[in-house]
């Protein structure tokens, strides 16, 4: 007998929970449990870990109903607790927070499987996210994706060495020729291995397939002229 996928929704606003519930009903038949506090959410997840565990968690980031006795004060804390306990559950953040600072913190530190925005998402997007998560993949909504990309660009621009590599790369037929050309701010030479590592990071940051694609993307994004 095929068991239903169990989903937990944590949000301090009943209305939001209702909204998500509506959307999920459109997507498929799920066994959904809801809660309005992080503490309860974590308790539920832990309680059912061995007996009918939840496969998915939809959680907000800020919870307005925390009191003095609240243990987990907000979505970040909840996710951190789950990660620390190495519980196997896919996490989707569904929130209104779009400030890069918060997004960056959540994405880079907590690595959620999905990041959705309450204001923008609808049943279709939620369904897409559920699919992706169940396939062990990631889904960040477009706006969040854009933000992360922009952030990468800014970081690359601030990184003198990265800018040097991007500028010099088209002038040399081989990567090994870059050794001795690229220098740190104090004038010391950077080794080939470091250059290659940096190139790898840059490709990932800018979603580039290869070095040529990287240069094109960098030019497109205005990192280099």
């Amino acid at each position: 007998m095929e068991t239903k996928i169990r989903i937990l929704i944590a949000d301090d606003h009943q209305l939001v929970i209702q909204g998500i519930l509506c959307s999920l009903k459109e997507v498929g038949d799920f066994d959904v449990v809801t809660t309005t506090t992080c503490d309860e959410a974590f308790q539920l997840i832990k309680m059912h870990q061995n007996n009918k565990p939840f496969q998915l968690l939809f959680t907000d980031l800020s919870f307005d109903n925390s009191t003095k006795d609240t243990n987990l004060d907000g979505g970040e804390e909840l996710i951190k607790a789950i990660r620390n306990n190495e519980i196997d559950i896919k996490i989707a953040v569904i929130t209104g927070h779009t400030e890069t600072n918060r997004v960056y913190n959540v994405v880079s530190n907590l690595n959620p499987n999905a990041y959705l925005l309450k204001s923008k998402c609808d049943a279709i997007e939620i369904g897409f996210a559920v699919q992706k998560m169940l396939a062990n993949d990631y889904y960040y909504t477009h706006e969040i994706h854009q933000k992360i990309m922009k952030r990468n660009i800014v970081q690359i621009q601030m990184d003198d060495v990265a800018v040097q590599i991007l500028k010099e790369l088209p002038n040399h037929p081989k990567i090994s020729n870059l050794e001795g050309v690229i220098t740190k701010s104090d004038g010391s030479v950077i080794k080939l291995r470091s250059i290659e590592t940096k190139l790898g990071i840059l490709r990932t940051d800018l979603n580039a397939n290869n070095n040529t694609d990287l240069i094109l993307k960098a030019k497109e994004l205005g990192i280099i002229d």
Binding site: D64, H97, N101, Y104, V154, Q157, M158
Partner: protein, 667 residues
């Protein structure tokens, strides 16, 4: 040639008066010297001193003294005064001595030259000696000696002691003399001043002789004889030698060894042209030989010798020794029962002895006369004899007492001086200790003061720091409050609006829904602006990157310089927050109001502060004209709250630059 050198040469001249050559050289050199007046004066002094001989002796020397005084050359004045005094003494001129004494005392008062004082006392003593005031003489010699002791001038000490000893012999205080001479030897023996040493030995020998210790006396005479050869002046050397022969002979005579005594006397008498060269020694030797003849009962021979001696003494006008000769003759004639002659000599001797105050002889003669006369006259002489003898005895005892007293008092004074010295030293030590205490006190006070200043400084620094920390705390508290507001704005207001929006959307009131959406977005933005959470979770550099990313667009480029130059981990969170908020406000202003295309952020750090400079290429604004917006005002307040400095520069159409400097620890 310097003045000083001149004096030196002149001084030397006094000691080597015979060195005419040198004198001429001196004259010839000084002719060329520039200070002519002075030189001429000094020349004349030298001339006076040099030519002070014969009839002009005194007038010249006195002129030298007066000229020296006039020129106010103290060293010269001292020299000339002493020279003048010496000559005055030899000619028994007491007025000259007094004059010199006064000059020396004046010199002492002016220059505090103790040598002058010692010399002045010496002259005073000589003055009294000329006046026959023996006790005063003794007293001044004694004073002069004591000053010389202080000056450690051994030769002067020895000479004064010798003079004192001679006086003591004269006053029959032989024991005192012995003591004095032995003390003198203490000073003179080590420095080989032979002239004084010979005299001291002789005087000591004389004293011992009178004390009936011929053997001891002889040993000193022999010592003197041994060193007599070192006397460089031939005349004096011979005199010494003859005197010693006479004296040594006398010791043998006292021991009854007449043969040896006579042989010695005869050895002396046999020397070449004795009577002319050394009449006194001749007289003494001949007298001595005669006295031995007398003892041996060769009266005629003795009388013959005494007569020759007396003649010779009359020739040399020495009345003192003449009286002695008369005494001996009286004795001899008495023995020979030639009473008339004896009486004649006794009377003559008495007269001379009285004149020369030779009390011993007076007594002797009185005794002879009382023997030579009869009845009332004899009684009268005897009475006179007894009276004089008594008075002499008392006087002698008084004198001895006086000498002893002088010595005793000085010793007492010395002891007192030693005591005073010790007390002085103690006082000095105490003063030193007090000084040290004072210094220590000052040091302690200084250190205390420094500590207080230091303490106050620390206290004020701590107070400042506490204040700063309180401010930082305030900032954090306010930030929390802001976040609370942001949260409720976001969650409650935005949620409610969303609800309304959904309802409106459902009832197809699209226009209202859209405007509500705009309101919702505004609220959300406001909420985001108010909140700046996750500071603890994200490192500051990433926060800045995130902030920049929020505003970054291809048409609004933000360049960040040297963000790694600051060690952000060591910067207080409140400072970072203030920087973050200021930065956000500035970027917002640049984007929204200035419509800038480029913006450059530069970070830097000093030992005490963090610095941030933000410049854009936007429209700029007139700082004086436009009242600072609420954003700028808030930013300024925020920075100044934590003792930071905020400055802004703007040029129309060129851009705006703001500079922020925040101290790391509130100073």
């Amino acid at each position: 040639m310097s003045k000083h050198q001149l004096f030196k040469r002149l001084k030397r001249l006094f000691f080597t008066k015979t060195n005419t050559l040198f004198f001429l050289l001196f004259i010839s050199i000084s002719v060329f010297s520039q200070n002519k007046d002075l030189d001429i004066s000094i020349d004349s002094i030298a001339f006076y001193v040099k030519n002070a001989k014969g009839a002009h002796k005194f007038s010249y020397l006195k002129r030298a003294v007066l000229l020296s005084e006039e020129l106010k050359i103290d060293s010269l004045l001292k020299q000339t005064s002493i020279e003048y005094a010496k000559q005055s003494y030899f000619t028994k001129d007491t007025l000259g001595l007094t004059f010199s004494t006064n000059k020396l005392l004046k010199h002492f008062q002016l220059k505090k030259d103790s040598f002058s004082l010692a010399k002045a006392y010496h002259l005073e003593a000589l003055n009294h000696k000329l006046k026959n005031n023996l006790d005063s003489t003794f007293y001044y010699f004694h004073k002069s000696k004591n000053i010389s002791i202080v000056l450690k001038d051994s030769v002067e000490i020895g000479r004064r002691l010798l003079s004192m000893a001679i006086i003591q012999v004269k006053e029959l205080d032989f024991l005192g003399c012995e003591i004095t001479t032995i003390e003198g030897l203490k000073y003179i023996e080590p420095n080989k001043n032979y002239r004084t040493l010979i005299s001291l030995y002789q005087t000591l020998g004389n004293a011992l002789g009178h004390l009936n210790k011929p053997q001891e006396a002889r040993s000193y005479y022999l010592k003197a004889k041994k060193i007599a050869k070192f006397n460089t002046v031939k005349h004096r050397r011979e005199k010494n030698y003859l005197n010693l022969l006479s004296n040594i002979g006398m010791t043998y005579k006292d021991e009854g060894n007449f043969k040896k005594a006579v042989s010695l006397f005869k050895e002396g008498l046999n020397s070449d042209s004795l009577e002319i060269k050394h009449p006194e020694q001749y007289q003494a030797l001949l007298g001595n030989v005669s006295s031995i003849y007398f003892i041996q009962g060769k009266i005629e021979k003795a009388i013959e010798g005494y007569k020759i001696v007396l003649k010779s003494r009359i020739k040399t006008k020495n009345r003192y020794t003449q009286s002695i000769s008369h005494s001996f003759l009286t004795e001899a004639y008495l023995k020979n029962k030639e009473y008339a002659l004896a009486k004649k000599h006794a009377n003559k001797g008495l007269e001379l002895a009285k004149k020369t105050r030779n009390n011993q002889r007076v007594l002797e003669n009185l005794k002879f006369l009382s023997q030579l006369t009869k009845g009332e006259t004899a009684k009268k002489y005897l009475e006179e004899y007894i009276k004089l003898s008594d008075s002499l005895f008392t006087r002698e005892r008084n004198l001895k007492n006086q000498f002893a007293k002088v010595r005793y008092e000085t010793e007492k004074k010395n002891k007192e001086n030693v005591g005073l010295k010790q007390q002085n030293q103690r006082n000095e030590l105490q003063i030193k200790a007090e000084k040290q205490y004072k210094i220590i006190g000052w040091l302690v006070a200084g250190v205390g003061f420094l500590i207080i200043v230091f303490g106050v400084n620390i206290a004020s620094n701590r107070r400042k720091k506490l204040l700063f920390e309180a401010k930082l705390l305030q900032v954090e508290v306010r930030e929390k409050e802001r976040q609370e507001i942001a949260k409720s704005l976001h969650d409650e207001v935005a949620g409610d609006i969303r609800m309304l929006h959904l309802k409106l959307a459902k009832t197809n009131q699209i226009k209202e829904a859209d405007s509500l959406n705009i309101i919702k977005e505004n609220v959300r933005n406001l909420s985001h602006q108010l909140s700046s959470e996750s500071f603890d979770k994200v490192v500051f550099k990433d926060q800045i990157i995130n902030l920049v990313s929020d505003f970054f667009e291809p048409k609004f480029k933000i360049k960040v310089n040297e963000i790694d130059k600051v060690n952000w981990q060591e910067i207080n969170n409140a400072i970072k927050r203030t920087l973050f908020l200021s930065l956000r406000e500035t970027i917002q202003n640049a984007k929204k109001h200035a419509v800038a295309k480029n913006i450059i952020l530069s970070f830097s750090e000093t030992k005490k502060a963090v610095l941030l400079e933000v410049s854009d290429n936007g429209k700029g604004f007139n700082i004086g004209e436009k009242k600072n917006g609420i954003g700028l005002k808030n930013m300024k307040e925020r920075i100044e709250e934590i003792n930071g400095i905020f400055s802004i520069e703007s040029q129309l159409e060129k851009g705006t630059t703001i500079k922020i400097e925040i101290p790391k620890n509130g100073n």
